[in-house]
Symmetry: D2
Subunit: 256 residues, 4 copies
Amino acid sequence: MTINSVSVKQVTFGKQPAIVIAGPCSIESEEHIFKEAQALKAAGVDMIRAGAYKPRTSPHAFQGLGFEGVKYLRAAADSVHLPMVTEVLSEYDVEKLIDLVDMFQVGSRNMYNYQLLKLLGQAGKPVLLKRGFSATLKEWEMAGQYLMSEGKASVVYCERGIRSFQDETRNTLDLAGAILLQAKTKQPVIIDPSHASGRRDLILPLSKAALAANISGVMIEVHHNPDQAWTDAAQTIDYSLLDQLMKECQPWLTSN
Amino acid sequence: MTINSVSVKQVTFGKQPAIVIAGPCSIESEEHIFKEAQALKAAGVDMIRAGAYKPRTSPHAFQGLGFEGVKYLRAAADSVHLPMVTEVLSEYDVEKLIDLVDMFQVGSRNMYNYQLLKLLGQAGKPVLLKRGFSATLKEWEMAGQYLMSEGKASVVYCERGIRSFQDETRNTLDLAGAILLQAKTKQPVIIDPSHASGRRDLILPLSKAALAANISGVMIEVHHNPDQAWTDAAQTIDYSLLDQLMKECQPWLTSN
Amino acid sequence: MTINSVSVKQVTFGKQPAIVIAGPCSIESEEHIFKEAQALKAAGVDMIRAGAYKPRTSPHAFQGLGFEGVKYLRAAADSVHLPMVTEVLSEYDVEKLIDLVDMFQVGSRNMYNYQLLKLLGQAGKPVLLKRGFSATLKEWEMAGQYLMSEGKASVVYCERGIRSFQDETRNTLDLAGAILLQAKTKQPVIIDPSHASGRRDLILPLSKAALAANISGVMIEVHHNPDQAWTDAAQTIDYSLLDQLMKECQPWLTSN
Amino acid sequence: MTINSVSVKQVTFGKQPAIVIAGPCSIESEEHIFKEAQALKAAGVDMIRAGAYKPRTSPHAFQGLGFEGVKYLRAAADSVHLPMVTEVLSEYDVEKLIDLVDMFQVGSRNMYNYQLLKLLGQAGKPVLLKRGFSATLKEWEMAGQYLMSEGKASVVYCERGIRSFQDETRNTLDLAGAILLQAKTKQPVIIDPSHASGRRDLILPLSKAALAANISGVMIEVHHNPDQAWTDAAQTIDYSLLDQLMKECQPWLTSN
């Protein structure tokens, strides 16, 4: 089965080998993101992820560094020659960010924000589209149609776990759904084992599982000191575990 | 237990008696909404609902009449001296609509659209906040905090069914969750039995159930000819069933 | 709509007025169940419930008083002239219990235990059939068919909450499902707000809601000293709250 | 991490390599199961599965060949020198079947049937314990404790998908849950991609995913002519696809 290619600078989703996106949940400072970028480069990941606009359940929680944060991430990514992806929350920010980012991320909370999707569809940058907390495959596919129907933007879908009664993982990774969507849409689908599981000990086995099933990549939360990460500490791995992951996933991360 | 009052013109949520909001899913034309408004007035409902901006799963489906539609609804509501509520989807539309609407509706798809919530919180109109498809009570409550933390907007929460494995109703009405949220936040909570069930035959018993449990109101989809409604036909009732509902719910719809 | 009558001694399910079954989760001793029975009679309930065979998640937890417990319950119920219902777990116990019980209860864990259902269908006593944790309406209905297809047993269905992502109640009461099943099967359906919610503060509003929606009865966990109940303490109410419930539900508990 | 070994004749679960159990959903006749057994042996599977006692949603559906069916399966398995596993539904059948079966299967519907579990725990044969439709990991683990607490029976857990809102697969495979349970209990955990997905096209990728994540085996529904299978046709694969699966899973099915 041939998957449509989605290119973000030198990175191509949808072809062998699979892609690894990694980085901290939040950009905490300019110094912080430069330090992470160097370590990510050294670990051999393909692309950096980090959040500047953070959609938080409470309006009183840390909301991210905002526009300054995106500028730090831009500079940090350039310093190590890796492309980057970051989340956009507001219609007003699309134009502001378009020359700064390599790929826009639409988070689970905004998968149904069709006005934002329409604007991003006109903007023309590639988009990483996370699945809503309880989106059906049809809804998720159609959200991608909001992005692609203008013919300008290309989409990489990201499965990040769905909500179920199960309470020992943060969400329930729907690997079968990810496989089905990739087969149906022919667009690359990756998984985010960090949000799917909420547990460091599951990042490695879930990554291997997805790659063995021909999923196009993984997106992982990494931090120099996970226990000190400002957000998502419980699911963030350190560089030692990232190195192990890169090594054990080697069969799917190199071209044959 | 005392519930905080939320007033929309002559209508007050959170006090006895309970409030009935009703109307068609979509505004189909100027003539259509005037005709519905007259029938809604005759039926004795407190407030009119109708959608001009429709968040549809597919970008190729009917997206609503937009700004023209809101103007038709404004005029129709005025013609029968009833307040109205309609959904807003885009940050760009808040300012445009603020002088036209009596109450903004935030739909399930945008419950997590925190940028829209922040703008509405600054705008200061009352907001009807529907629960996300699988929002926890905490997330739903906090979404209301995004609206109220500026101290300008007041919120009425609306439970419209959550997603579960159950496949014989469109969603699963979480009446217990609605009761808990009202007790915890002291803000009025109403239910939408139309979206919760997706079935005409459940609108009446679910409405009675909610009102008997001290829920502050119901929001119901009504149409002159439900089978011809452009959207949500299967869950839309006609005026004969609305009359029966108003009659059977009488104990909770009149002050004692 | 006419519902088929199910009679258990002087109690008739499926006709007005609605039926109240109440009692402790577990029979703790002979003295205990006699004391509860007297209080239940004084409160005006129609039927006593109490468990002697307890299906516990852990094999190391209290498993109930067993056959001795059923004999205590039989005597206690007779002492106040009320019928009783108690759960049966094992195929081997059906014959042993048949002359002792007025109505068998099949719990959620055994709704799919078709061998037990077949034996109960041949035994011919009325059965209270609880819905499985995530049983579809079709499965629940068909489990009742296992009981009724021999033509000997009659069934009262009991909705006790389904599993969902919602974590602030023990389960999610599917009131719409209960209403639909009663309409479809014409058999009486009651609700168990105790297991559905897991919270004392929801027993009263959920009972009123169900009765207002024409549900045929409620089953409630009551204990002289709920905080000391051996099992299900958090959802068990005391007699003062039971009195309030009987009073506020009066419109549905007396014939018109 | 070391997993406890569970041996069924020459087959050992919990050690490398992983185990493949395969066979038809139902035993349809003596001739049928002999034919399948020969093909399964030729395909290189480790163990045969087939059902004689079928727990069907409707009492009017085919209930399986019963005791005769088990005898056919016994003879067929012996004819190709493979061990077999088959489901037991009734407490009364445990003693009857104990000398015929190599491993008992407890299906999802009976995971909470603690009386059956207790009897099987005393019987002492190895047991394949499927997860209930919406069992928490704790409940599933504890069901295994009912089997193992007597010290006679050993358990292999089988994840077969849980119920969620997702409607494009029959169930939602909870691979993360399977991994967690194996890590916590140290007992072997296998997956059943047939019931988890309900789709032939997902059997192969889900099997590879699970094996890459160090799951101890897979159980797969196979039939000479899947479209003619009496039960579960949509999820049953043919021998050509089984051959492909055995080949593509080779890295995990051979010792290193």
